[in-house]
């Protein structure tokens, strides 16, 4: 299925891009992240990171659907 992936802050710098369309068999954000990290080895691990799907905070094991926009957030540091 087709998924739009977006990277933020340190993830964007590690991947070298802010967004990319992907064609994937990954059925969860966790699996999708591992796939993306395969293409962009600097991404390494999503431990302590957050994920959102279509502008709602999501779980790493939540199912993905065709056309979803998946946002990968590195560890946050507001305040």
């Amino acid at each position: 299925m087709k998924i739009q992936v977006r990277y933020f802050a340190a993830f964007r710098e590690a991947a070298g891009l802010a967004a990319e369309p992907v064609e994937t068999q990954a059925d969860t954000p966790a699996a999708l992240f591992r796939e993306c990290a395969g293409r962009h080895p600097a991404l390494q691990s999503y431990s302590a990171s957050l994920v959102a799907i279509n502008d709602e905070m999501a779980d790493w094991e939540q199912p993905l659907a065709e056309g979803d926009e998946v946002l990968f957030f590195p560890p946050v540091a507001g305040g």
């Binding site: 933020f8 431990s47 502008d55 709602e56 905070m57 560890p75 946050v76 540091a77 507001g78």
Partner: protein, 149 residues
Amino acid sequence: MNSFRIISTAIEPWALRAHLADPACGAYVQFEGWVRDHNEGQRVRRLEYEVYEPLALKEGQRIVAEAVERFGLSRAAAIHRSGLLELTDIAVLVGAAAPHRSEAFDACRYIIDQLKVRLPIWKKEYYANGAAEWVNCQRCAEAGHRHGL
């Protein structure tokens, strides 16, 4: 006024107080987070916040609403900066008004603690030696810690 806002210009320390004033309240507690000149042994010159606004706004408003509900507050609000900040600038401002001081203190603490770990906001520090780095919050740095959603 929205209970949580992101702004790219200087936060004035009195920005919330007048909006939160309420004759039913006997206590108002305000927290200001400032830009500090050092972090983990490095001398910090300035910093930059990157904010993913669509989600940060939703989540920030949710946190303020939780505090009002949980502590029986009269009113609360917060503002977080985006963009480039200089030393001593206000990075985040939280205000909580309640009938009595105990709830106002607790709610203010709850809001700032939650804002720090739940908002899609990232901080890049620029150091005196010319280097710059994205900073991880302390709790995130603990092995395997994932924030509750």
